[in-house]
Symmetry: C4
Subunit: 193 residues, 4 copies
């Protein structure tokens, strides 16, 4: 079984997820500068979620690049990941519309945590299918980022009520942690090609 | 005629179908735990339909993998299947919004039945085009799942009024029946590659 | 310049066009059989437009299959076609919501006519780019369907007011005309492969 | 790292961006000619934005055609461009709904300017990654269009208040400037293939 359609389908779903978040921006009624103000929290939450979906696309792209063949388990683990990713637009609108209130911020963390877990399951199935000496296994190394993210999400969920700002800070921190390029991984990829 | 664009177009339509169901989740007004309660039935129906679309994508992926060439009839049988699949988001919202009431549950079954029939037509056209000794023919075997699903959907349609819970149980049962991996099929695929 | 991305982009746009029409089906309020009645005209217009978009995708698929290289003109003629195709969901909702009233039926014909013209322009640019002895040129032959469709659309536009039923009949006739498989074209394709 | 998935993902996002703008056309209530009048400004803004997204897709297509390999920086610069492109449907609806009022016209220019800058960043990263003698470098030449567009957008932003018509004229001018085929670039592409 080849991986091309899995990549194409995932790309399609991710492209839609990242784009339908914009549909939440209702056109403001006024035509002066202040009329855009109510959109500001939605815009900020859109930026954060766009980066998260971008990170998932980026990591998915890298991981699938090392994959040679897929099986039924990997197909379903991938669909399971897409399921949780598809809920990001909902929690994004939820925190944006409620100005980052404690409970919505907690729910945002829950969805990020479920995505982290779903990605972890997918990654492990691929590792099992390809062996310990595979390219992916080398590239991941100790996988500090992958292991620390769920713990950080969990902390954010606990702290979101009554400190939503701290939860928000943690979400931004995790996003930045993944955004910073990982020179070591790219080197391993380049050496092996 | 090659099959690449048929796969790409089907992936695109399936990716959109699976994702637009999320647009039904209107952001709740409250910001506490109870405000999410009205979303629960929609969420449950989303999970069920996500799994069904996932199953169709999975089976479509496997079936098309065995296809070498397509003709006009196959192209239209595929569009016919996509037509019925495109109605799944509608019946999903219908049962979710009406808390799994009898008539909506019946309609959900009707759409699943039409999808099953459309898939059956597509499968038969491909079998006819590729011969009885083809890989697909061997992989399908007696096709117990494919033959029993429409019968189960039909039973659910009859029982949905006045027993929507039984219809729901049948829909969940059929989904699980397809989710359970079919070792025999994967073996046949692997042997032939 | 290769044609792969043009095909991928067109498939994406066509997949979205064919699917967003379903978003017009608002979930009905009642939970009995009669509550689905207001959706019926929308459903009928959806079937018609689904077939039209399917025909365009089918013909586009066949035409692009014969194309070896594209230039800037072909890229823009393709975008021009996608522009008019993207208006089909709008006129579909327009005739469905107004129960096939004269003026909406006229507008439906205008959009079909513009699509026919846009397709004709694209086809001619490709023919010019590939020569009179090309596979596409042979497959098209006298192109009776391509030439008669705009005339039929034009008649429908003129007759829609005050006879919307005749316009509707013409739209159904043209769709059926294209649906009927063209054995001759497939033979030419098969002989040349 | 290959560029295929970057192209596929970008095509998906661009296809969705160009199509969801149509969702803004609410079906008018009347069924005579005048009922379409309120849609006219939305339709005009749709045409303009469709052309802009078409230009970006076209240029992206050409630029990526010359790219041999991508790195993490290019992936993120591409996502950054997609982010600003995803805001085009919002400002399109904003100017359409407010009949091209000064402040919305200014915001339209701001988004176009951000897109121009994002494209410039992506282009420079690709140039840096491929060297000064690359095909892209030759094809761009002095890149008069790429350099003058941001300046023109900036002028439009300054003039939009109180002269929205002048801003609109500038947006139309820039679009036409890119639409006019650049024979020199196609020649360089053709010579090198």
């Amino acid at each position: 079984m080849n991986k091309n359609r899995l990549e194409a389908f995932s790309d399609g779903v991710l492209a839609i997820i990242i784009t339908i978040m914009v549909l939440e921006f209702k056109v403001p009624e006024g035509i002066d500068c202040t009329s855009l103000k109510p959109i500001l929290p939605k815009f900020l939450s859109y930026i954060l979620s766009f980066i998260y979906v971008g990170i998932y696309w980026n990591n998915h792209h890298h991981m699938m690049h090392t994959v040679k063949r897929v099986n039924g388990g990997i197909l379903w683990a991938n669909l399971h990941l897409l399921f949780w990713l598809s809920l990001i637009p909902f929690v994004t609108a939820y925190i944006g519309e409620n100005h980052f209130a404690p409970f919505p911020m907690m729910m945002y963390g829950v969805i990020l945590l479920m995505n982290g877990i779903a990605y972890f399951i997918l990654q492990n199935l691929i590792l099992k299918h390809h062996g310990k000496d595979s390219l992916l296994s080398k590239a991941l190394g100790k996988d500090y980022k992958g292991k620390s993210s769920p713990i950080l999400y969990f902390m954010a969920i606990l702290l979101a009520n009554p400190y939503p700002a701290i939860a928000g800070g943690i979400y931004i921190f995790v996003a930045l942690m993944w955004l910073v390029p990982d020179k070591r991984i790219e080197r391993i990829f380049n050496e092996n090609e």
